[in-house]
Symmetry: D2
């Protein structure tokens, strides 16, 4: 039973089925019928007109957004443990032409207005220091914590006050929506978010993510850089079809609901003391000593160590809840 | 009946079927079983050990290769009408960090040793001019002409003499292999090619291209930049499976054979005088006046104008030969 | 007697003297008294408010301007033989983050509205091709030809119509002003020029060039990139003082007048048939066979060959006119 | 009496005099007689063959070195308060094409083997994280602390073990040489340093810094990027002449000796309790409350506040020691 990563899971059957439907001659790139429906479908979902572009990775979505937001000589305020800083191999620097990530700390990989204001206020306004041009947060965060609409809106208002763009890395946005019970709109543009990396692959997609632009001024540079960075696929219909299948019938929410429920069962089994962070999405960080970890593994449960004495378990859209209960029991029995 | 672009065609059934087979939990990125088989499968195909990396676009394949070959202050000798110069939105400049395309002319978008030597010899060796670091050709060329093994080897030997890397854009490599009757090895590494963009999408693929590295020194920088440019997909198995399906049972050659045959039928119908270029792959460039073009279109045949008085027709892996014959008849009847 | 390059000449005595005057404790970077006077001094010269920034090379001036004008994914229309394309080692690509030089032809390295419109009209407006964002010309051109105010204004109007920025490389701007008899204003902002690389080093300066921005929106990005590219010197007063000395008492025009006069004497001696280009500034391109070139050299005159059967002679601000007359006589005697 | 910055001071008379000597017609760029003598002069100074290149700023020296050492996808280990991270406006990211500064902490802006090893060991070796390619330290550090030959050699050995290049920012290298009593060789290449930014401007120069390359493999890429970044001045002789004047007769050491002596007098007056850092070069960081700072300023002494309750005083090569003693007395009297 594997709890390594939601990237490891299979695709949702409806996603696979959508590929077969899209498998016909149509216009190349994003001129096809499926791609042309994306803007409308996501505009419905977000209750406002948006530009929705398919890409194939969260890294591409994040970095296309950032590159449309800051000049090469600018900076992006983000958490020190943000995926864009830690796990994207310098992609933000590559896409932006050398913009600087300006790192901020905070528990659970979450940012607060106080923390970003403190960081901003330390930067001299002269030409010798890189000036921030955007703020980027991750919801759910890299440690599975969610931002509420109010927390997001506070950051959005602060960004606006200081003339900063606001990007949301939503690799696990579905999990955040389910967890907070908030609407997609309240977690994004109503809170000031101008671009969202809308994750699908971790949530049952096959190879499609969506980049949602709430500010139409970002669309042209983003489309051009999507091509320039090799991310404009020839047969875009196969990506668009995946995204449409995912948001149809709220599949994306059903998938996230299952993953979140699995995580909650593990969290309850672990108990507050064993949990490194509150469990609000589909990631569970546990204190496990080497002996305990070995016991779980010998019982057939696989997961990553996360530093010394800690472990990370990630649940998926298709996690079998019966198996989850067996792991929960095993954790209780430690 | 559409003769616009081989990008518009559907995917081969075996490619689609391979997605279903790959649709199971496995390791993320390229740690899965399918991705791990790529090197061996393409090493067989090319009769030499290679590194084979999946990517999703030809632009990504081309530009990852070039970026591993030249420093940011270097240059790439290529044809003025090369896809990398004309149709990739500056992707080579982006991936390489600002390397310069050094443009060379020649009929049919093909390069010769004389042409590249002439260009090279005009460049002063001082620090004021960008020095070439690589040579890039396209086979079949942007006008559907092929390079023979001998032509390729002459360029390869010349490149080696001058310390230049050698890249081959093979968006339509399958068509060139079928057309020349040469082995994949003779058209690449035996002729000095060090990196090949092995096209699949135009030839029945869905979203996977392969970058084949014949020099293992290029592998590490390429892998890093693949990630850094957002091209390392989370669920790489769906790409690897497409590639494996394509080269299994020589499907890629069967597909190209059909496309080439369709093009030959059109070429024979057109006759030498009407042809702008000899037809050696799956592209047919015709002299058609406005009246003639209109007649063909009113008979249900779609294609692009290509400048004034010319038209481009591209045939696909799944082109129905009966329909092709109807178009051929219509051309004869002009 | 050397006629290689105006870069080889010494500095004007007033420029050297200005260094001694500036040699006192003052604020670092451009906070000193001299740097602070630049905007006003050049605003007087150009009869309009400008931002004037010192830099140390024409390459830096050109490329800072271009980088403030076009995004990394944009393009710059310029002549194929423009200094920025031929002799700056890819600096435009470096400073802009990979923008593409879109090359246009024309006699004498000059551009016309017809030529740039032809180039522009061939670019598809889609995302696959790099879109021009700026036009750059050189006055006097790389072959010593000047643009009149009317020629410049025609290009400026065309650029404005198409939403393009307009940059003028004025490495030999002084020679153009003297030659055309036009005012600095008429050759620049009144003709639509938004940024000017105002050359001084070739005209008697020691290490200072000026970048003149007619559009104040370009100032902030340019100041930031000047620092980011290592061009914000600690003791800027020594650069500002040079520039102030050069434009004081119209020294820059007196210097250019001497260089132009020297070139005219050579041009008259050569006669129209021997001249490759009309002589309008301080560069003389002559048809000289090998025997003739050898005769001149054996008489003590040094200059560059410029391709086969041609030679380039450049005259300087401090060229001794008596020596020029000796060379003129020697040319007449060929 | 100003103690703001050593950038504010005038140039040494011998440096100014050298400009007059260099003020004659010679070959452009670095083909002149002065530039051609640099390698030999610095090879003597460092007791080993070096490549010595003039540049105009420390930022250019640092970033040219780093760009020749790490690929765009690489990283540079440096102190969080290193000048390259804090005060160069993202120049390292610009010159390297987006390499990442990997930040390490340590008192007094100094690095230790333990600190860099700890940072290195936290980086996963996979493609998702940026891998360090170089180590950069500053001697004297940004807080005026020096590295001994032994400390430098320990870091050099560690870097070599891990395949990292080793760069030394020597904006105040002269002060470190004087302070440690070590030879230039022992503080650099004998300790594993491969490139040194040899500061002159803060130490009596006018506009010239030297980049010293101990590894000849770095020379070609550096020369090319110097041009490409607009740092190859047309009349390089005026820079080379400054550097030659500075190292002739050990002027650079005499200058640094005066600045260090001035700093020592202030340090002794302040006493250990008031000093934030030990004083080992020409920078004095003091604890001063607002009242004390005001008293010193009203007595005619100018300096920067450095955070709350602290101040920075920097002494120069030409600092009048009598004035320094008056400030020392005023500090004692607080």
């Amino acid at each position: 039973m594997r709890f390594f990563s939601d990237n490891a899971a299979a695709a949702h059957p409806a996603v696979l089925a959508s590929l077969a439907e899209a498998d016909r001659l149509d216009t190349a790139y994003d001129g096809d019928g499926w791609s042309q429906r994306l803007d409308a479908a996501f505009s419905d979902l977000f209750e406002t007109p948006v530009t929705a572009l398919w890409v194939t990775t969260g890294t591409a979505a994040n970095c296309l957004a950032l590159a449309s937001m800051v000049p090469p000589y600018g900076g992006v305020l983000c958490h020190r443990e943000a995926h864009i800083n830690v796990d994207e191999a310098g992609a933000p620097e590559f896409f932006t032409g050398g913009a600087k990530l300006l790192l901020v700390d905070g528990p659970g990989a979450k940012l607060t207005v106080d923390a970003v204001e403190d960081a901003r206020s330390r930067i001299r306004r002269d030409v010798h220091q890189v000036q921030p041009g955007a703020l980027s947060i991750t919801n759910a965060s890299e440690y599975g914590l969610t931002y509420s609409p109010e927390e997001t809106a506070a950051l959005g208002a602060w960004a606006k006050t200081h003339g900063l763009r606001f990007h949301l890395d939503g690799a696990r946005f579905a999990n955040a929506v389910v967890s907070t019970g908030a609407s997609p709109a309240d977690l994004t543009w109503r809170a000031g978010v101008e671009a969202l990396s809308f994750g699908c692959v971790k949530n049952g997609g096959l190879s499609a993510e969506a980049l949602i632009l709430f500010d139409s001024a970002l669309a042209d540079p983003t489309r051009r850089l999507r091509k320039r960075s090799g991310h404009l696929l020839s047969k875009g219909r196969y990506l668009a079809a995946q995204l449409l299948a995912m948001i149809e019938d709220d599949r994306w929410l059903a998938n996230a609901r299952n993953a979140n429920e699995a995580a909650q069962r593990l969290a309850r089994a672990a108990g507050a003391e064993r949990l490194v962070h509150p469990v609000q999405a589909n990631e569970v960080f546990l204190r496990l000593n080497a002996h305990e970890a070995a016991r779980l593994r010998s019982a057939g449960f696989d997961f990553y160590d996360w530093g010394v004495g800690e472990a990370r378990m990630v649940t998926s859209w298709d996690q079998d809840l019966a198996a989850v209960d067996r792991l929960a029991d095993a954790i209780r029995a430690l």
